[in-house]
Symmetry: C2
């Protein structure tokens, strides 16, 4: 089969690799119908070590079950399924508390001899625990939104849930990437009354407004903090959703948060520490979030997607085939594309 490998900075190749085979009784083989490129794929795209062998990449996919192991009980051949961006047994104590990213037996796609998501097939460990079945044969349009359940939309949702967003809240979202826009949609869905999106790319913030942003702040850093405080009568927001991953973004998120409020961080952290100083101590600022346990949220978010109440798939602004994957990475890196959908 063909799969995507990363061989070093900027060096993405689509190559022939061995077809996956069932290894453990709880495995399934899934034929990928839709996959995509994640903002977090751009970190190795910038920093991966050079390698002739290369490493599999991609962790978001939706597909059809082709084969199941003898220990697989609920997942059936022919099922349309979405996979969260980590696999998990969904039975251990961490999974049961909704933290499948800390599953005692889980792991990441492309590691531990699984496949990456940006290929034709994937061997899925703990198929019954990992995969979520999707009903019937949804039309092509719906597939994009269903695919977002793999990572980007639950990640935005995790920011909002971690920050305790609830009805009537004022929320700030730091970052207008696909995760930031997903966080806007998630906060709006959870009943936020006012959602202030911090971003400066008009095409993206326009989608943010469509997703529910009531205000857009183009300023950055301390100017952004000042602007958000101005918009909130000086107080700041109940919840700030940090969707970038740089310390500057965390600083901004903390700065716009109202006393007693929470920063929900989901931007993959590129920092060693966060500025929770004496001032934030006096203000009782909380910090929550981290890598999103997407598996925990999929069933909750699915009905709204199936009913068309929300269309998180709008974050995809380009669809490509497998041959174009290297250019898809380039386009996302150059901010030419917001998020790239792959139809293998």
């Amino acid at each position: 089969m063909r799969a995507t490998l990363i061989h070093g900075p900027g060096d993405i190749r689509v190559s022939e690799v061995p077809d996956p085979k069932l290894r453990d009784a709880t495995d399934a083989i899934v034929r990928v119908v839709r996959s995509c490129i994640c903002g977090s794929d751009l970190w190795p795209y910038q920093s991966a070590e050079k390698s002739d062998v290369g490493s599999r990449i991609g962790h978001e996919f939706l597909g059809v079950v082709e084969e199941v192991g003898s220990g697989v009980e609920t997942t059936k051949k022919g099922d349309l399924v979405v996979a969260p961006f980590v696999w998990a047994d969904n039975t251990c104590d961490f999974c049961r508390q909704g933290l499948q990213t800390s599953c005692r037996h889980g792991g990441g796609w492309g590691s531990d001899e699984t496949d990456g998501g940006q290929g034709e097939y994937v061997r899925v460990p703990f198929a019954d625990g990992t995969l979520v079945g999707l009903p019937g044969e949804p039309d092509d349009k719906l597939l994009a939104s269903l695919l977002t359940l793999s990572d980007v939309f639950p990640t935005g949702h995790h920011a909002a849930v971690s920050a305790g967003v609830s009805k009537g809240d004022t929320v700030a979202v730091v970052g207008d990437g696909a995760v930031g826009l997903s966080a806007v949609l998630a906060a709006t869905r959870l009943g936020a009354e006012r959602v202030i999106l911090l971003g400066r790319h008009t095409d993206r913030t326009d989608l943010g407004r469509e997703f529910g942003a009531t205000d857009v702040v183009a300023e950055r850093g301390d100017e952004a903090i000042e602007k958000v405080r101005e918009l909130t009568g000086g107080d700041g927001v109940h919840a700030a959703l940090e969707c970038v991953g740089y310390e500057q973004a965390v600083h901004t998120a903390i700065g716009v948060t109202r006393d007693g409020g929470t920063v929900g961080r989901v931007g993959v952290s590129q920092y060693e520490s966060v500025p929770l100083d004496a001032g934030t101590f006096m203000r009782n600022i909380k910090m929550a979030g981290g890598v999103a346990p997407a598996r925990n949220y999929i069933e909750d978010l699915l009905p709204d997607v199936l009913e068309g109440k929300i269309q998180p798939g709008k974050v995809f602004d380009r669809t490509i085939g497998m041959d174009e994957i290297p250019d898809g990475y380039r386009a996302m890196m150059d901010r030419e594309a917001l998020k790239v959908l792959i139809a293998p």
Copy 2:
């Protein structure tokens, strides 16, 4: 009247100052019956700027209402009352959400022409909002525990509440000072099944055991983290209560916290940032807490104190008169005393 002033590092004096007078209609004058020295008083004790005039100090007191302003409705002359360590109107939106430390009209004792707590009398702004009435004439023994409601016990309680301690949890408390020991008591009271106290002063950890600590870890830093992980099957604790205020203690607290768990910080922060790095991001470690809104907790904690179910006053291991206050500071600084009670 006589009151305590700080004139520079190590320079505490008890001096004659003007008797307080009602200033605003909502004021009361309270005669101090019990006061005490706080671990946080030791920060200015080490770093205050030299000053001939000096600054009032002390923020924990319990006393009898001597006089009330014309706008005071519920507080009466003769009432025995406890004062939280900040004053607040208890009616603004922050107060209503239980964050009286961020009251829109509040302030700290000894500032804004109020008096410090370590004196004979205190002018109390927003008497109805600030003060909590105590029933009848409790005996001397109970006064010590009632006084802890002013700061130290609600501060330990805030650590536990912020970290979400609930029935059956495993909890670590970093620090065996009066706040740490109060946090042990608070976590136990909230139903923690196992409370691991990190401290190395046997006389203090012995009181910790009396307050409910099931394990004591004398190691520090990475060794302490390793030890707590050993004690918890490698997983760490649901909640880590940081009761010191140094970055090292925060590092330890984060290190012992189980994936998805929370650090409740109440040690007055002597740091600019906390090590919430990529590892903690993958582990979904939360951080909450800050300066404790004692006022929000007093009514909740009071019954257990009055009924003798808990005796937080055991943190006091020395009682002094006003003349001995300078030596009381020295004794706490030298770790000769855990916490010093003042009977003016």
